[in-house]
């Protein structure tokens, strides 16, 4: 019997737990005809703001031995053009669309969210809380539990769509921030965004990235993300969508065991565009070999091991 990979994020049913991580899959149609979309349970778009945003100057990416840095600067076409030009095409794919949104102020989050009310095929909003709060000196909204609560709480009141709060990887406060999002009524958490980082061009004596600093993604981030997913799902009931360096099926399995309900893959796509199919097959094979029939046989199994604090 073929194991069933169906998973639920609140009331949203996904046929597989796999989806692209926001920002690595463009507006969702760029890989059509190149890779199979069959293994995907949903599409996650680039982060959208109210007005178009031009992003940072190049270089926008930098390869590292075990991952990459990016400082795209949230370039996007703006919510209006997205609704007019991009969403109609996405609707044809027959997959739930998760639209990632961000704002430079709390009001902007609300306005972007409101403009997606009633949009066809949009199944959830992923609220990108790692973007800088321009009015508060540029610190990420997601670093402050109070701001997280406010943004989610306000969105929940005005927008009738499931909300996934995407949090920055703050190793010391992740639980606190996650709790704030849960309390405000988020339907899920996406853990985690890229880790703030930078690279130096020693020959030219200046930072490599045009945006000076960027976000670290890829295998280097994976164990960091894994620990946060584990920690949060052990303490909180809210479903967690894991993101952070998943590049092989073994990584995906690790996140499921740690308690994730779904999985986002991003950077790995850039070295292996077929990564979704390979991870999908890997999970199925593993489950079949062990006689598992549903994702629930795996999810959070690692929680059963008692930890022994020193």
């Amino acid at each position: 019997m073929t194991p069933c990979l169906e998973t639920h994020i609140g009331s949203l049913r996904l046929k597989t737990p796999l989806m692209p991580a926001s920002g690595t899959f463009g507006y969702g149609d760029e890989y059509l005809g190149i890779i199979s979309y069959e293994p995907l349970g949903a599409i996650v778009t680039k982060s959208l703001s109210l007005k178009p945003k031009r992003g940072n100057p190049p270089p926008r990416i930098h390869e590292l031995p075990c991952g990459m840095l990016n400082s795209i600067g949230l370039e996007n076409v703006g919510i209006k053009r997205f609704l007019e030009e991009k969403l109609p095409r996405l609707s044809e794919l027959g997959l739930p669309v998760v639209v990632s949104i961000f704002g430079e102020s709390e009001e902007e989050f609300l306005r972007v969210g409101e403009s997606l009310k009633g949009a066809p095929s949009v199944s959830a909003l992923e609220v990108n809380l790692s973007c800088p709060n321009v009015r508060k000196g540029g610190a990420a909204f997601g670093a402050d539990p109070e701001r997280v609560f406010h943004i989610i709480d306000n969105l929940k009141e005005r927008v009738d769509l499931p909300l996934w709060a995407k949090l920055p990887p703050d190793p010391f406060h992740i639980l606190e921030i996650a709790e704030a999002a849960q309390k405000a009524g988020a339907h899920a958490l996406t853990l985690v965004n890229t880790l703030p980082a930078m690279a130096m061009d020693i020959q030219r004596g200046r930072p490599v990235l045009g945006g000076i600093t960027g976000g670290l993604s890829g295998p280097a981030l994976m164990p960091v993300a894994l620990k946060m997913v584990y920690e949060v799902t052990r303490k909180l009931k809210i479903p967690v969508v894991a993101a952070g360096g998943i590049s092989r099926w073994e990584d995906a399995m690790a996140f499921l065991l740690a308690g994730a309900s779904a999985l986002q893959i991003g950077t790995a796509l850039f070295s292996n565009p077929r990564v979704f199919s390979e991870v999908h097959e890997g999970i199925l094979r593993f489950m079949r070999e062990r006689g598992m029939t549903t994702i629930e046989d795996l999810r959070g199994k690692a929680h059963e091991v008692e930890d022994h604090p020193l």
């Binding site: 463009g26 992003g55 930098h62 795209i72 070295s271």
Partner: protein, 390 residues
């Protein structure tokens, strides 16, 4: 298009054609393999397009705009929509028939890249007029496992020869994303040669990725995504082609030189590099035996003229189309030296992760907005670049 759109659609159809389609003709096309789209403004249907897609072939069967709304670009919008729809459905060619006398439609189709591929005699029953068969080939990006056949080192350069799983058409100037073993990102490399199933890439092993690529062994497979981006357009009319290659810029201009010479277009190729070791004899022979006029320039004077390519540029640019590929500084100089009325195509480089427009890393930012090198380039006309290089 939905069934409830039909009354409006049929009215436009009646107003547009002498032998209009009936209700049933439209109904059939509302489900696959038929695809029908309407152009709507404030709930009013102003035009529509009907096509069929069978496997990888698309056929545009009907396209019409309500008479009062013509000449406003609605037809182009509908056609563009159909083309994009086909691209996303993996269609490799789109076909249509058009009345020979319908000049407006023919010119619209030509503008969108369709070319006359044949004629259907007495195709139209009302007048017995011929139809022109027009076709448009849609490029497809393919992800393949390519097998390493050889790694040929030639001085500081290296040619990587790979065997693909199938034949793939390409245009000089297009590129591939290729797996660099053990590295987190694929690498963009110009297509140096692609004939039958043999892909050739010219590289200079200086970075982590290119070094990993020349250390591959024969028989190893590498993931390759190709052909990507836009290639060099051919010169218009009776123009001759001047190719300006700076160092590794030869990688994309080499296949262009061969293609132009095959088409009988006179080619003058200026290739500048640090020193003579950059000019492997086998490459020079391949160019000169095709009667390509080749001028070499070295910084140290060890071969050809001494200096920088930008210092020895010709003074006369009449009837020439210029193609340039090289370091950014060279491109900037070239664009400032060559008189503005001369058509110049440059191929640009930028760091990229995906090669298909998803990651948005390879941005070319200018007054006119952002362009992506992978999707809108890597070949740009000078007008498209504007102030982006400064």
């Amino acid at each position: 298009m939905a069934e409830e759109d039909l009354p409006q659609v049929l009215a436009i159809e009646k107003a547009s054609f002498t032998t209009p389609w009936g209700r049933w003709a439209f109904l059939v096309e509302l489900k696959p393999p038929g695809y029908a789209f309407v152009y709507e403004e404030e709930g009013r249907i102003l035009g529509y397009a009907v096509m069929r897609i069978v496997e990888d072939e698309g056929h545009l069967m009907n396209l019409s705009v309500a008479p009062p709304w013509r000449k406003r670009g609605i037809g182009s919008d509908l056609l563009r929509f159909c083309i994009e729809f086909c691209l996303h459905k993996g269609v490799s060619s789109l076909w249509l028939e058009v009345r020979e006398s319908n000049e407006a439609a023919i010119s619209l189709y030509q503008k969108m890249g369709f070319a006359v591929k044949g004629r259907r005699k007495s195709y139209y029953q009302d007048t017995g007029e011929d139809a022109l068969l027009m076709g448009l080939s849609l490029p497809r990006k393919i992800l393949q496992e390519a097998k390493v056949k050889a790694v040929r080192t030639m001085g500081p350069l290296c040619i990587l020869e790979l065997s693909l799983q199938s034949e793939i058409p390409f245009e000089p100037g297009q590129f591939v994303m290729i797996e660099a073993p053990g590295r987190p990102l694929m690498r963009p490399l110009s297509i140096f040669g692609l004939e039958k199933k043999m892909l050739k890439l010219l590289l200079r092993p200086v970075g982590t990725g290119t070094r990993a690529l020349v250390e591959v062994h024969t028989g190893q497979t590498l993931r390759v995504l190709l052909p990507l981006g836009k290639g060099y357009p051919m010169p218009q009319g009776r123009q001759k082609a001047w190719l300006l290659a700076g160092g590794m810029g030869i990688a994309s201009l080499f296949p262009l030189a061969l293609k132009l010479s095959r088409k009988g277009i006179p080619v003058r190729l200026l290739w500048g590099a640090r020193n003579s070791s950059w000019f492997p004899a086998p490459l020079l022979w391949q160019l000169t035996e095709k009667s390509i006029s080749l001028e070499l320039i070295t910084e140290d004077g060890s071969m050809g003229r001494k200096g920088l390519i930008t210092e020895v540029l010709p003074k006369e640019w009449e009837n020439a189309t210029v193609y340039a590929c090289g370091p950014k500084e060279m491109m900037k100089r070239i664009l400032s030296i060559i008189p503005p009325h001369v058509k110049v195509y440059v191929s640009l480089e930028e760091r990229m992760a995906c090669g298909v427009g998803a990651c948005q890393a390879c941005v070319l930012s200018g007054r006119g907005g952002n362009k992506l090198v992978c999707r809108d380039g890597p070949v740009f006309e000078r007008e498209e670049i504007g102030d982006s290089l400064s």
